[in-house]
Amino acid sequence: MSETITNDDHETVDEGKRDFIYIATGAVAAAGAASLAWPLVKQMGAAADTLAAGSIEIDLTKVEVGQQLKVLWRGKPVFVRHRTAKEIKDAVDTDIAKCPDPQTDDERLVANPEGKLNPAFLVMVGVCTHFGCVPVGEAGDYDGWYCPCHGSHYDTSGRIRKGPAPTNMVIPPYEYLTDTSIKVG
């Protein structure tokens, strides 16, 4: 659309040619505006101290058999449970077809650097997937966890078995640094 801006003397700025200089200036301006917007948007993201607190190392030797360590990670509790042999057996022997959220116990574990799984330790985010309450350990109909808020029952692998929660308790990202220590996050 060709337009001219005039006053009575017909002094015009002929925009019909869409001068290269205007396009170049406009493009450079747009690039500048985008570059300027980047820090303004980025600054709301997690700051370095939040990110630093976002990963923790846990020494597994501190947790005895049949005991659970509860650690705050990114504002949420992480359960590190040293499972008994019976708990491990129950977790493995479950018919997962009957579970509302089918998942084998192996799928809920992380291998060490050699590729070996360590079923003795279950690491999961201790937050009920229904509305976010913290379930109680060694409770419920499946000898795992029970959430008192709305009655969800979890088994010894942290899988939902009965109750309103839709999915199993979340396994956080973690890795084995050595055979006896893990880094969560």
């Binding site: 700025v13 001068d19 205007y22 200036t25 500048g32 101290d49």
Partner: protein, 288 residues
Amino acid sequence: MMVSIKKVALSALALTGLVVAGTATIAYAAGSYESSYEMKHKHWHFSGIRGTYDRAAAQRGYQVYREVCASCHALEHLSFRHLGDKGAPFFMEEFKNPNDNPYVKAFAADWQIPDIDPETGDDIERPGIPADGFPDIFSNPAAARASNGGSYPPDLSVIVSARNGGADYLYNLLVAYDEPVPKGMEMSAGQHYNPMMEGGKIAMAAPLQEGLIEYAPQEINDHGETKTIQVEATVEQMAADVTEFLAWSSDPKMEARKSLGMATMLYLLIFTLLLWLSYKRVWKDVEH
């Protein structure tokens, strides 16, 4: 006579500027006593628009801080993980997350951090982790004063920004202890003469002595490769190194700032030029 207002304003500005500059050359004086001390102006690696921190010097400076200054001075705004950030003395490309940097972990573990035993609730001390901040040296300011003859050892994390003269001031403070006390100045017990202090009297005894520490025999580059070095711990060397480290501590983002600055200035030069050409184009056929 039609004198352009621009020209006149500019010459007025220049004139005032000259007067100010002339008066500003009045020498840096230490109180009202005659001091013959001439400040040494070092060329710092980080000065200028493209300056960066001398990584090796800052690494040695951390060692000086740890072994000498940390007996009294805290670094309250620094956490151990900062030592592994981009632009920091111990940054390693391989460990973008400084929590994983092995040197950061080692340095953190070298400090005892007050904490609470989660089982008994007692006050304990435990080795540091990267996410911890550098700990306080004294439990509170009163304790700090009591241990230092009534004077409070200032925190060093922003000391280079907090003093007029910055790095030059700090370096000269550390090396000027040998200056003779001027005639007529009386020093009380617990006071030492230093021409850099306003008034000439400082409560801190000379912190650096020849051979006080033995520098670690290697410097680490940002790929984790070590290079064997042999640096002698003279007073001037330690002063320069700890100043480099504390300069980084005061302004850890300086390198990022200067590099973005270069890109921004170039962009703005080009953009302003384009705007000016657009201006010329818009006004080409207009009487003005």
